[in-house]
Each structure stands twice: as C-alpha cells, then as structure tokens.
C-alpha cells in the first residue's frame, strides 16, 4: 500500500517539478533558450497541471504519511547508517513538501502569511524535495522493487504475499532465535509489563488485531486506497475548473472562477495595485517602439487605424487559473517591422506600472515574431478594461500571464 501511494505521490511531485521548471525558465530564460509557441494553450496546460497536481498532493501525501506513520515510532530511532540516511531524507522530504504544498496553495489566492519570499523559496525547495525523494527511493529500493508489481505482491486469490523480513516478530520467532543463541532451555516468551510504556503497550496488545483474516485485510487495504483515490479525484474535479473549462460547471472550491471579473476575465494585478491611473493612460499616452536610434510613437488612435487581427488565446496565470479569451489588436510583428527589426531579435517590454518585478520583461524572438502575438486593444468584444491593461497590452501564445505585459509603455528591440 505504501508503494502504491508512494508511486502516485512520486509521479505527482515529478509532474510538479517538471512543469514548475518549465514555468521558471519561461520567466527566467537562460540565454540559449527558445520555447515552443504551439499548441497555443501549452502554458495553460502545463501550469494547470502544475497547480492541479499540487493540490492533489494533499490527499496523496496525507494518505502516504498515514500508511507509514508507525515507522515514526520505531525503536531504536536510528538502527544504522543507511537507516539514518533514510530517516534524515524522509524528515527533510516531509517537512519541505508540507511547506511547499501549503505555501503553494496559499499563493494561489495571493495570501502570504509566511516570513519569506514565495517565488525563490518555492524554486529552491523543489530541488530539496526531489533530492530527498531520490535518496528515500534509493534507500527503499529493495522494498519498492519487491512490491512494485501486482503479480509479485499478491497470490492468485488476491492475498498479500509478505516477505518474512516484513512481518512483525511473533513470540515463536523470538523463542526460535533465542534457542539458536543459547544452550539453555528457553521457556515461554511473554512481554514485560512494568513501567508506564510497558503497561500501555500491553493494554494495546491485549486487544486481538482488528484485521483477522485475509479477506478483512483486503477490505481494509482496498478501502483505504480507494478512499485516497476518491478524495484525490474529488479534489481535482472540484478545483481544476479554474484551469480547464470542461470542469468549470463543478468548480466550487478553486481560488478563481472563469468569467468572473472585468471583461469577463479574472484579474491578477489590478491597476490600483500597479499604481496605474487614468492620468497615465489618457489622451497623452503613446506606445514607443524602438530599435537603436529608430523610434516610433503610436497613440491608441494610431494603433486602431492599423490592420486589426483577432485571435483566441488563453490568459494563463502562473497561479494556475486560465481562461480562453478573444483578443483584437495590432500584430506585434507589424510594429517591429516598422522599426526594421530582424526575425532573430528579442524584445524588451516596459509597462506603465510604477514598481514590480515584471514592470520590465523580455520576450524571445520566437514569441515576438509569432502570427498570434498581438498588442491587444480589445478583449471579448470590448475595449480593454483598465485592470486588463488599457490602453494596450501584449498577448502571446504559450506565455505566463505575468509576461503578458499590461499597460504597455515601451517596446525596445534588443
């Protein structure tokens, strides 16, 4: 059972790790990195899976901890070096993964009651978790290998086949071991019941075990795995609607809901939070597009006078929610052609917002030159709301929402 749940939990953590790394490098690319722009919902998919798998880790990790919790009370606490390594790695794993999924969940609704920065710590802990998981799997590999497949774990009647080493010692085992080590005759073996601990354990053991037969054991084992499976499925079904439209109708517990917000879209950072005011976006506003010494300025009327394109692209937030929307505006490549940009040149985007880690961002040429990338002026048939980036924002396929710069001010070819 520990192997079954551990396998699911391991897969969930690896999925979170892989999709998390993808999201991290999209936001902090290494110089040589180029990213796919299709399918257009790639980031919606990868980050939706990241958050959904992260939430699914709650029932999986609690189930796994429940199965192995008797090991917590093992005596002596440390048996040998391998056992020390195993216990140290699992302590780090439990602690780091509980902090990771808890702070991750709180981050999905922008709640930061913890005394550290979320992004950096989430990134660093991901290596700690996968590292301690690898060590844990390494130390437990003989057990995992032994019980990995169904055919090696159960007989034809469905009874669990335990190795002798995995079974608890019986009084007869102890008597047999003693008989091998001493020539003295060995009498009846009984538990010492003096002292508080002895009396408590004697009281516990005086009850016959709950699970008496193989059938009962099967009911108990299958019941628990089924419970965790049903809970995990329910958690996914009732929250994943924030990322995947197909589950929107039963989204009752996710931090976001599709179609709720200005322009029928949720908002991550409002204009007020970004300190962008009507004065910044009024008649004086103009978008500056430059390459070296060549600079062109476009008012909103200038942009509206250019050839308009319509695209359907999701706004996919790093915090997990996503929603498809219909955008209309000027193709970014047309603006870049206007200043003579080359197809392999990247772009720096600056927002009107006064401060924030994403006020100035960069966009790789694969996104800048894509047919679907727009400087959007409208969404869902209406002019952009101020909270969605009026007078103009970027929308590109396969990019995190934080990089879909709102309240555009400058585009610089670099």
């Amino acid at each position: 059972m520990a192997v079954v749940l551990g396998r699911l939990l391991g897969i969930a953590f690896l999925v979170c790790f892989g999709t998390g790394l993808y999201s991290h490098f999209l936001q902090n690319p290494l110089p040589w990195m180029v990213f796919p722009t299709r399918p257009r919902s790639l980031y919606q998919l990868s980050q939706g899976i990241h958050i959904t798998a992260g939430i699914a880790c709650f029932p999986l990790i609690l189930g796994k901890l429940y199965v192995v919790f008797p090991d917590l009370f093992q005596t002596p606490p440390i048996k040998n070096f391998v056992n020390f390594l195993e216990r140290a790695s699992i302590t780090i794993f439990i602690s780091a993964s509980l902090v990771q999924i808890t702070t991750g969940l709180l981050n999905t609704y922008q709640w930061y009651p913890f005394p550290f920065s979320f992004r950096q710590v989430h990134f660093a802990l991901s290596f700690v978790i996968i590292g301690s998981l690898a060590i844990h799997i390494g130390t437990k590999l003989p057990l995992i290998s032994r019980y990995w497949t169904r055919s090696r774990s159960f007989d034809a009647e469905g009874n669990l086949l335990l190795d002798d080493a995995d079974l608890p010692l019986t009084k007869a085992d102890v008597a047999a071991e003693l008989a091998e080590t001493t020539r003295e005759p060995v009498g009846a073996v009984s538990r010492r019941v003096d002292g508080l601990t002895g009396r408590v354990f004697d009281w516990i053991d005086s009850a016959p075990p709950r699970v008496d037969t193989a059938t009962q054991a099967r009911v108990s084992r299958r019941g628990f795995v089924a419970t965790i499976a049903v809970t995990t499925a329910a958690v996914i079904a009732l929250t994943a609607g924030q990322s995947f439209r197909v589950l929107d109708a039963i989204n009752v517990f996710a931090p976001r809901k599709n179609f709720v917000g200005p322009n029928g879209l949720p908002v991550n950072r409002t204009a007020q939070a970004a300190q962008v005011t009507d004065a910044d976006t009024g008649a004086d506003w103009a978008l500056s597009v430059s390459r070296g010494a060549t600079v062109k300025l476009y008012t909103r009327a200038d942009l509206e006078a250019m050839t308009q394109h319509s695209v359907d692209l999701p706004i996919a937030c790093v915090e997990g929610w996503s929603q498809m929307a219909s955008w209309r505006g000027v193709r970014l490549r047309d603006l870049l052609d206007g200043v003579g940009a080359h197809a392999d040149e990247d772009l720096r985007l600056t927002s009107l917002e006064k401060k924030g880690g994403f006020r100035v961002t960069e966009m790789g040429h694969e996104f800048a030159q894509d047919d679907l990338t727009l400087v959007a002026l409208e969404v869902n048939g209406n002019p952009l709301d101020l909270d969605h980036g009026f007078p103009a924002r970027v929308i590109a396929p396969g990019r995190p929402g934080v990089l879909q710069t709102k309240w555009l001010s400058k585009l610089e070819v670099i």
């Binding site: 939430i55 709650f58 029932p59 609690l62 189930g63 919790f69 917590l72 390594l85 780090i92 439990i94 602690s95 780091a96 902090v99 808890t102 709180l106 609704y109 922008q110 709640w111 913890f114 005394p115 550290f116 920065s117 950096q120 710590v121 660093a124 700690v128 996968i130 590292g131 301690s132 998981l133 690898a134 060590i135 799997i137 390494g138 130390t139 590999l141 003989p142 009281w203 516990i204 709950r210 009911v219 019941g223 628990f224 419970t227 965790i228 049903v230 809970t231 329910a234 009732l238 929250t239 009752v252 517990f253 931090p255 976001r256 809901k257 709720v260 949720p266 908002v267 409002t270 939070a273």
Partner: protein, 154 residues
C-alpha cells in the same frame, strides 16, 4: 533486478539526491536573504511539529481507540466511516484556509469569488449522507447474505 544492479541504482539515486539537495541549498543561499532563510527554517520546523507532534499522534490515537474499542463493528463498516472522515478532513484542510482568507479580505474581487464556507458545509453534509447510506446498504446486504442458506458447489 539483480543484487548488483539494485546496489548501483541505490548509489546513483543517493548521489543524484545529494547533488539536488546541495543545489537546493545553493539556490536558497544565493537568492534568499539570511533573515528570510531563518523564516524558511522556522516553517520547516513548524511543519515537522505539526506532522510529528499533532497529525501523527491524533492518527495514532484514533487508530488505537478503533482497535481497542471498535471490536463489535464490522470491518467494512469501519472502513466506510473512516473513508467519510478522511474525505471530510482533507477537504477541510484545503478549503478552510480559503474561507478564512476570504473573510479577512482579498487583493481584488476576482480572487476567491466563490462561497467556500457554505459550499464546504454542503460538501460535508453530502459526504455524511453518502457515508450513512453506504453503511446502511452494506449492513442490509450483509444481513441478507447471512440469512440466505449457503449454497455449496459440488
């Protein structure tokens, strides 16, 4: 898997694990201020205290009481009731923080827009009803099977 190949895998996984731990520690020291690292350490410690000191002992206590006191309840009924408790508890862990955050205020109206606390109460009620129905259904089925004369195959 042969003993040698098992050993090689164990060594490889342990080495990769140690390297990743070192990378995680480096990233932490490189990108997070020392005072914030102390905050991380505090939360890691709190997670252990909550797990080892609270969750494990509560689980131990419940398992212990069920073993000692629940001898007269059929194991399938016990499994159904435990399943109901597990479902309700895990949803509480996931949804209650959202309900609390909504009550103290959110950064904008599109964050936590749903009725989390009332929905959780409805979810709990549905789970309790389903659990009760499952127990009643199982008990009735078990009684009927017990009353029916057994048929043995020749």
């Amino acid at each position: 898997m042969s003993a040698t190949s098992l050993k090689n895998w164990q060594v490889a996984l342990t080495v990769v694990g140690l390297l990743l731990l070192a990378l995680g520690a480096y990233v932490m020291v490189d990108t997070v201020k020392p005072v914030k690292i102390a905050g991380v350490a505090l939360w890691l410690l709190l997670a252990l205290v909550i797990h080892d000191g609270i969750i494990a002992f509560v689980t131990f206590g419940v398992a212990f009481l069920l073993r000692k006191a629940g001898r007269k309840i059929p194991i399938a009924v016990l499994a159904i009731v435990q399943a109901g408790l597990v479902v309700c508890s895990i949803f509480a862990i996931i949804v209650l923080p959202a309900a609390y955050k909504k009550s103290i205020g959110v950064s904008n109206a599109t964050v936590l827009p749903l009725d989390y606390a009332p929905s959780l109460v409805v979810f709990w009620a549905v789970t309790v009803v389903l659990t009760a129905l499952a127990v009643v259904g199982y008990t009735a089925l078990a009684r009927r099977q017990k009353a029916r004369p057994s048929i043995t195959q020749a």
